[in-house]
Amino acid sequence: MISFELAEPKTLNEAIALLDAEDPEVRPISGGTALMLMMKSGVFRPSRLVSLQKVEPDYSRIERGSNGSLRIGALANLSQIEHSDEVRRVAPVIEKTMRHLSNVRVRNVARLGGNLAHGDPHMDLPPVLSSLGAKAIVAGPSGQREIMIEELFGGYYETVLKRDELITFVDVPPQAGWSSTYLKCTTRSADDWPALGIACSLRIENGTIGDVRLMISAATEKLTRLVSTEKVLRGQKVNEATFERAAESALTEAEVIGDSRGSASYKSELVRVYVRRALRQAGLGVTQS
C-alpha cells in the first residue's frame, strides 16, 4: 500500500548494496529536505528509502590537505560546512554563499551530497563548487569514480549518477592565487529560489586573467560552464572593457529558459548584468550585488 521500507545501513558498502540500479522507487536519503517535499506532494512514492544517517562518520568529516586542498564528506550538513574553519580558510566564498542559502533550519539538516545529487538547477552550491574546480568522488558496486561538479548534471533535475551510486566526498583543489565570487539573483522574495546564479573564479597574474572558471545556474536547464566566455576572458587585461565583452559573450552562450521568476529574454538581460558584476567583484574586489 503506501508503506515503504526504511533501511538504515551501518556502512556505505551496505548502503550501496541496498540501492537498486534499475528501480526508481529505491532511493538514498540523507537530510531529506528535498525528498520529503517530493513525497508530501506525491511526486515521489518510494518502495525503499536507504538512510545514510548511520554510515561511517568518515563521510561527514571536513579535512584540509597540507597543500591547501579541501575534502568535504558528502554527509556533512550545510551548517557544518558554513561554520568550518577549514572551509573558510580555503574557500571563503562557500561560507558567504551559505548565509543566503535557504534558512538555518534547512542548513542544519540538508547534506552536501544530497544538495548535489538532487540535480536541481536552482541550488547554490553546484555553481560555487564547480567554479572552485571541485570534483565529486562517487562510489558504486564496481568501485569509485571522480566527476567534475559541472559534469555531474545531465539535465533538469537529472544527474549522471547511476541509481546505485553515492557521492562520498567533494574534493576542492587548492585555491591559492584564485579569487572567487557567487552572485545569486532572486526576482521575487529575497528567499526565493534564484532566477539566476553566477559563480566565477579568476586567477589574476600581473593585471591579466591567467585562468577563469565561469558557471551559470538556475536560469539554465542545468548548471553550465560558460566555456566560450572563459576563452574571451583568458589572457585579457582585468578591466571593464574585458568584463563587458565577457558579459556580451555570456548572453549569447547561455541557453536561458523562462519560468515564473522571469521570461527568458529578461533573464538574458540579467545574465549580462550579473556576469559583469561577478567578474568585477572577483577581479577588482568591487562589492556590488
Binding site: M1, I2, L37, K40, S41, G42, C185, T187, R188, S189, A190, D191, D192, W193, S260, G262, S263, S265, Y266, E269, L270, V273
Partner: protein, 763 residues
C-alpha cells in the same frame, strides 16, 4: 508614534502584551489541527482537474479497494442527507461536493475517509472522474459578455436585500452590478480643462494563513459539534442549521486559536462537508487542507479598474467615472458584498461633485475570491492613487499638494452623499508628508541606482449593518470573564476587549478571562472581519461591562452597602447569598444605524458607522540594470481613533503593510487553463524577513471616533491601503515609468525602463 493618554483606570490605552502570547510561544495554545477525537476519521478530497465541465461519471471502485478506507462519497451521497447542498453567504451557489458540473480546477468532487490520512489521500487520488469539458472564462472583463456561463441560474441567498433582484437570472456571469450616480459626470467631462483616463489591473493572490483551514465535525446524541478554525462561528452555526433544516440550538460551533485568517476563514468553508460526513458516518470527521489546497479554496479578487477624471484649470477634480470589474471566480462567496461595499468608495477620498460608478462582481472559472484584509479596498486604492499621481505629474503639480487641493474634508459629502465624520484624511496625508520630509530636497541617486518616493492614501467604510453581542460575567469572588464570539486570529482582540472590560470594572486587564467562541456559551457576533470588531464588539463589550457594573451596584444597594463604599465585590456577594455564590451577568448588544444605498442612484445619507483611513509613504531604490526595486523607507499612518492598545495597533499597521508589500511586489497566482501552476510555498513567495524595509515607521494620528468604545475604531486593514500605489508612484518618480499592473516585478520595471530608453527587451 503618537500616543494618547490612557483612560482613567489606566487599562484602555495601555500597551499590554497579548494575553495569549505565553501560551502560543510555549506551544500550549489549542488549535483545531492538534485535535484528535476517539474514532476520528480523516477526510481527503478528490478535486476537479478541469476548469469547467460536466461530470459524465465518477468511479469510486478503485478508491474503495484501498485497504483501510472507511468510505468514499460523492455529491449525490451528500444529497441523501442534505437535499439542497448549496452554501454561501451571498449566494447559495457552492455545492458541498460537485453536482453535475465543475466550475474551477480544484473543486471538491469526491471525498475519501479513513482513520489514516495517508490512506484517505491515496484513495482520493484513485477516484476516477470523466468530464465533458465546457468552454471556460477566466478574465473578468471577458466574463461580462462571455458565451461561457459559469452558473446556469443565479441563486442569491436572500440574506442581503440588495441582491434580491438577481434571483433566478439566467445567461449571465454578473453576480452583482452596483451603480452609483451623483451629479452630472458627463457634463463635467464636457466642460473640463483636462480629462485623464487610465486602466489598472490587480492579480489574484491568496491569504496564505500559516495555519491552513481545518474543521472537525463531531456527531453528538442529538446534534452536532463543529470544531473549526473559523472567523465566523455564529454564521457557521446559522448556515449549518439551514442546510440540515435544524434549529440553531442543535449545532454547536467551537473555535480555539487561529493561526491567521485574513478573511480566508470567513463565513463557511470546510464546515459543511465535515458536518455532512459526521452525520453520514456517525463518527468525528476531520478535514484539514494542505497549504497547496488553500489556493483552490479562497483568494483575493483580481480586478480591472477603468478610471476617468475631469479636472478644471485650477487643478480641482470636477468629475470621476469608475468602472470596476471584480473577478469573483467560480463561487460568489462574499464577492458581491465586496463589489458593493467597497465599490462605492472607488472614486477615493476626494471631494468630487460629479461621480459615476459601475462595479461588477463576475463569475469566472477560477478558484473563488472573497475578502482579504481590506475587503476590496487595496485593489481600488491601487488604481485611484496611481491615477491621482499621474494627474498631478501631468499637470505639474506636486502630488501631495494636488491631494491637499482635492481631499475629502470633514463634513463634505462622499460619493454616496454621506457626510464625512470622524475621518481624519487630511491629518493622515499631512502626517505622511511630514514623516517623509516631503518639502525638503530629495537625493535622487546616481549611476545605476536611482531613488524615488511616493505616497498613497485610501479609505474604507465599515461594513454595515452588523450586530455584536457580549456577556460579562462577574463571579462571586469578584473575578470576571468575558464571553464573546470575536475570534482572536492573531490581531489581539482578546487583549483589547479585556482592556475594555477592565477599564469599566476598574480591574487589571490581565485578570479578565476571555472565553473563546463556543456558540453554546458565547453570544452572537456577525463575524471577525473588515476591522469591525473593535467598534462593534468593543461597544457590545463596553455595554456588557457597564451593565454588569450597574447590576453589581444595584446588588450592593439591595444589601445595604452605601454608594461609594470600597467594600470588595466578594463581600457584596456574601452579603447577598450568605456564602461565595451567585453571578452578576452583564449583557451588551450593539448594532449601529445604517441606511442602505438607493438601488438606482447608490445614494445614502448614512452609508457607514465609521471610516478607516490609511496612508503610506515610501522611499525606494531602483537598480536600472535589473529592474530590482528596494524599499528603503516605509511610513504607515492611520486614523483609527483612540488606540485601545498602542503596541498591538503598531504591529497591526506594520503587519498589514508588509502583507500588502507581498501583494505589491511579487505574490501572484499563475494559471494555465485554470490550474494554479505555482500552488506551493516553493513557487508562490510571500515576504520574508529580508524583504522588510530597514526603516519602518507606524503612526496613529491624534483623532477620536465618535460612538466608538473609548473613541476607538478598527485598524486591521488600514495600513494595506496605500502601499501598492505609493510604490508604483515612487518607481515613476525614480525612473519615469508607470506600471499599471500588479505585481510590480523587477522584470516589468526593467521592461518599462528599456522601452522608455528606446531599447526594448524582446518577448
Amino acid at each position: 508614534m503618537t500616543i494618547h493618554n490612557p483612560m482613567p483606570a489606566g487599562q484602555v490605552g495601555r500597551s499590554l502584551p497579548r494575553l495569549e502570547a505565553r501560551a502560543k510561544v510555549t506551544g500550549r495554545a489549542d488549535y483545531v489541527h492538534n485535535m484528535r477525537l476517539p474514532g476520528m476519521l480523516i477526510a481527503k478530497v478528490a478535486r476537479s482537474t478541469v476548469a469547467h465541465g460536466r461530470i459524465v461519471s465518477i468511479d469510486t471502485s478503485a478508491a474503495l479497494q484501498v485497504e483501510g478506507v472507511f468510505a468514499v462519497y460523492t455529491g449525490e451521497d451528500i444529497r441523501k442527507i442534505i437535499p439542497e447542498p448549496y452554501y454561501g453567504p451571498a449566494f447559495h451557489d457552492q455545492p458541498i461536493l460537485a453536482l453535475g458540473k465543475v466550475r474551477h480546477v480544484g473543486e471538491p468532487v469526491a471525498v475519501a475517509l479513513a482513520r489514516d490520512a495517508h490512506v484517505a489521500e491515496q484513495a482520493a487520488q484513485l477516484v476516477e472522474v470523466v468530464y465533458e469539458e465546457l468552454p471556460a472564462v477566466f478574465d473578468e472583463v471577458e466574463a461580462m459578455d462571455s458565451k461561457a456561463i459559469v452558473h446556469d441560474v443565479l441563486k442569491p441567498a436572500g440574506t442581503f436585500p440588495d441582491l434580491k433582484h438577481l434571483h433566478g437570472k439566467k445567461n449571465t456571469n454578473i453576480a452583482l452590478d452596483f451603480h452609483l450616480k451623483r451629479g452630472d459626470v458627463e457634463g463635467a467631462f464636457a466642460s473640463a480643462a483636462h480629462v485623464f483616463e487610465h486602466e489598472f489591473h490587480t492579480q489574484q493572490v491568496m491569504h496564505t494563513p500559516l495555519e491552513p483551514m481545518v474543521s472537525v465535525g463531531e456527531p453528538t446524541r442529538d446534534g452536532l459539534i463543529i470544531h473549526t478554525a473559523s472567523q465566523s462561528p455564529s454564521f457557521v452555526r446559522i448556515e449549518i442549521s439551514r442546510l440540515l433544516g435544524w434549529p440553531e440550538n442543535k449545532v454547536q460551533v467551537k473555535v480555539p486559536h487561529l493561526g491567521g485568517g485574513f478573511g480566508a476563514k470567513l463565513y463557511i468553508k470546510l464546515e459543511a462537508l465535515v458536518a455532512a460526513l459526521a452525520l453520514m458516518t456517525k463518527r468525528p470527521v476531520k478535514w484539514s487542507l494542505t497549504m497547496e489546497e488553500q489556493f483552490y479554496t479562497i483568494s483575493k479578487h483580481a480586478t480591472t479598474f477603468r478610471i476617468k477624471s475631469a479636472v478644471d484649470a485650477a487643478g480641482k477634480i470636477t468629475g470621476r467615472r469608475c468602472d470596476v470589474y471584480w473577478n469573483g471566480g467560480a463561487y460568489a462567496d462574499i464577492g458581491p458584498r465586496v463589489t458593493q461595499k467597497s465599490g462605492f468608495t472607488a472614486p477615493g477620498p476626494y471631494d468630487i461633485d460629479n461621480v459615476a460608478i459601475e462595479s461588477y462582481s463576475l463569475y469566472t472559472n477560477r478558484p473563488p475570491a472573497g475578502a482579504l484584509r481590506g475587503f476590496g479596498i487595496p485593489q481600488l486604492v491601487w488604481a485611484y492613487e496611481s491615477h491621482t499621481d499621474l494627474i498631478a505629474r501631468e499637470l505639474n503639480i506636486d502630488p501631495v499638494e494636488f491631494r491637499r487641493k482635492n481631499i475629502l474634508r470633514e463634513g463634505r459629502p462622499q460619493a454616496t452623499g454621506t457626510a464625512m465624520k470622524d475621518a481624519a484624511i487630511d491629518l493622515v496625508l499631512e502626517k505622511v508628508a511630514e514623516r517623509m520630509n516631503w518639502s525638503a530636497p530629495f537625493n535622487r541617486g546616481t549611476g545605476t541606482v536611482l531613488r524615488g518616493r511616493g505616497v498613497g492614501i485610501g479609505f474604507k467604510a465599515s461594513i454595515s449593518p452588523t450586530t455584536s453581542v457580549a456577556f460579562v460575567n462577574i463571579y462571586a469572588d469578584g473575578s470576571c470573564a468575558l464571553y464573546m464570539s470575536t475570534v482572536d486570529m492573531g490581531q489581539g482582540s482578546d487583549t483589547a476587549m479585556a482592556q475594555i472590560v477592565a477599564e469599566v470594572l476598574r480591574v487589571q486587564a490581565e485578570n479578565v478571562r476571555v472565553i473563546h467562541p463556543d456558540t453554546d456559551v458565547t453570544p452572537y457576533d456577525m463575524a471577525t472581519l473588515g476591522s469591525r470588531s473593535t467598534f462593534h464588539m468593543g461597544n457590545a463589550v463596553k455595554l456588557a461591562a457597564e451593565d454588569a457594573k450597574q447590576k453589581l451596584e444595584a446588588m450592593a444597594r439591595s444589601v445595604g452597602v452605601p454608594d461609594g463604599s470600597n467594600l470588595e465585590t466578594r463581600e457584596i456577594f456574601k452579603k447577598k447569598y450568605g456564602m461565595q455564590a451567585g453571578n452578576v451577568m452583564g449583557v451588551g448588544s450593539f448594532i449601529p444605524s445604517y441606511k442602505s444605498p438607493d438601488s438606482v442612484t447608490g445614494m445614502s445619507d448614512n452609508i457607514t458607522p465609521f471610516w478607516m483611513i490609511g496612508g503610506t509613504g515610501v522611499e525606494i531604490e531602483v537598480d536600472t540594470e535589473t529592474g530590482h526595486v528596494k524599499l528603503t523607507k516605509l511610513i504607515n499612518v492611520a486614523d483609527m481613533g483612540r488606540p485601545l492598545n498602542p503596541h498591538i495597533v503598531e504591529t497591526q499597521l506594520s503587519g498589514a503593510a508588509i502583507m500588502q508589500l507581498g501583494f505589491t511586489m511579487f505574490e501572484n497566482m499563475e494559471f494555465d487553463a485554470g490550474q494554479v501552476t505555482n500552488a506551493s510555498f516553493a513557487d508562490y513567495k510571500i515576504p520574508g524577513i529580508h524583504d522588510i524595509p530597514p526603516d519602518i515607521e507606524n503612526h496613529i494620528v491624534l483623532a477620536e471616533q465618535g460612538g466608538g468604545p473609548f473613541g476607538a475604531k478598527g485598524v486591521g486593514e488600514s495600513a494595506t491601503f496605500g502601499v501598492s500605489p505609493a510604490i508604483a508612484n515612487a518607481i515613476h518618480d525614480a525612473v519615469g515609468i508607470r506600471l499599471t499592473d500588479l505585481p510590480l516585478t523587477a522584470e516589468s520595471v526593467l521592461r518599462g525602463i528599456r522601452l522608455k530608453a528606446g531599447n526594448p527587451i524582446g518577448d
